[in-house]
Symmetry: C2
Subunit: 355 residues, 2 copies
Amino acid sequence: MAARLARKHPKPRPLRLALSGFGHVGRRFAELLGGPYGVILRRAGVEPRVTAIATGRHGLAVDPSGLSLPRALALVEDGCSLSPLHQGAPIASTRALVAAAPYDVLVELTPLSPLTGEPATAHVAAALRRGCHAVTANKGPVAHARRRLTALARRHGVRFLHEGAVMDGFPIFNLAERCLRGVTVRGFRGVLNSTTTRILSRMEAGVPFDVALGEAQAAGVAEADPAFDLDGWDAAVKTCALANALMGANLRPADVERASVRDLSAEAVEAAAREGKRWRLVARAERTGGRVTARVAPEELPLGDLLVSSGSDGVLVLDTDLMGEVGLWEGAGGVDQTAYAVLSDLLEIVAPTRR
Amino acid sequence: MAARLARKHPKPRPLRLALSGFGHVGRRFAELLGGPYGVILRRAGVEPRVTAIATGRHGLAVDPSGLSLPRALALVEDGCSLSPLHQGAPIASTRALVAAAPYDVLVELTPLSPLTGEPATAHVAAALRRGCHAVTANKGPVAHARRRLTALARRHGVRFLHEGAVMDGFPIFNLAERCLRGVTVRGFRGVLNSTTTRILSRMEAGVPFDVALGEAQAAGVAEADPAFDLDGWDAAVKTCALANALMGANLRPADVERASVRDLSAEAVEAAAREGKRWRLVARAERTGGRVTARVAPEELPLGDLLVSSGSDGVLVLDTDLMGEVGLWEGAGGVDQTAYAVLSDLLEIVAPTRR
């Protein structure tokens, strides 16, 4: 009986996690790991243990027996260094930590460097080369190096997963792989940058552009350098990530044609609103000839269009051969959703659905 | 080298299919099986072979070595019986065919008897008891007997899959199982009956109800008995199927509170349209206390609401604990999409993603 019980509830095996990056998403993930995420992972047969954390401004810490997450969170919240938690010889950098710390999965959440994909891509590659899995919510590595990283993972018998790269944790990449088998994605359209949606929505109500931008920055949703959102770079990086993963393209962000919402006048936005229309920064990709082309530009859409439906931080419509249009709509997105993407990727590593 | 090649491209093993029901969906599935679906299944390692077809008005045919689908399609299109294709002793009924024909998977597509779930439920149960898998695009068995049929399948080491039961082939059940692991669905809202959406859309343009209904019937999208669509029975059966599968409920269609779109006046629909609003037949489910309750009723919604976005034959928004709102939007749906649901369920049987 004891043996049967033991077989039914085997002792969870440890799953050692290294977090590179400990910002909003990393910290929320760490909090949830002490709550529901821990429960879910244990139910899936593993005991998660964070053995390494690397931060930009709060130093780093490695402890092979597992770091105290409440202590790590408290130190960082108090503006202190993680170094009191560190065990063993000093480690010079995040890069050195990724290369040498003991872990099974690298959770790569370093601040975004979208136009190069670094240092996230280097971290992911280093983890995969060590035979460790890599999970990221960073769109950079997917947009810049998905093909190479996926091949590297395959070569080392591990996984490179990135559900959080686009539309927070909304299952896009997993959906395409697991739920649309045999289907070819011929193209897509979407609204992938929520900052421009917020700003345009405010402008529709008559709020001047600068004020709307200031509000978005104050709310912490816009980048400090607004060019990244407004000029379509964020959407272009996401468009690349989607085209590369869903359409087998090999685009780089610079290959995506871009137009800025800054070229829209307040008058145009307000006039459209009066006519029951909405301007949005729309991302599109299609296969023409044998080539995938993509662009990001403001478009005027009727109010009944899915892409302008209210309450959403991201919408994507896949144009497919066997299933027609498949629309994916995220409600309000944020760190909780992105943290879930990390969890869902970890669950895939622990108990793969792919064969 | 030959051995390695053989391992890489093993000879596809046969996958014997019995089709109970050979209407629009069954025939489209058969057509596609001779084209892209066949290619996809062979790539997944099986050679599909339809060994039995049972129809309501064209007799039935069994051939253990595989029926000619072009011949079966031609016979039925010409209004003839399938009996010339039949091999072996006569078989009296669909029920007898399900019980005795040689097959690995029953594809259950008999005409809908939504208020009882029969005879589809009996067919599915009979197949499972024989140790055969069962796939259905019929919402009846899911709404009336999902718990029992799933348990039966587990007991016999086979699968009961029903992706096509709601929103044609849009991956709802598969998404929840494979892509939202660890997530609890707390409730949902959706527009699940496309006939009422069509009729209400026409009424918004000033077309009288009876004319709009006639158009929908002429287009073949409304049931001959309009009560099933208009009075919310179709949506209630789908709501049950969703609540039972996604929320662990054990509802029956009669448990779903219903209100009819017939109680809406043309004036109300037109007045709403003038104010930028839309009436739709909305399905909702929620957990209150320990109990799941569900209802289907016309609701007035603002034009920017996801549920009234244009070009869609079905929208569903899941309210979840870890991911917030997850919206699923189907473009124009039809037999192609429902046929895809059957393919996707077959792929799951051939190469399971679940562990």
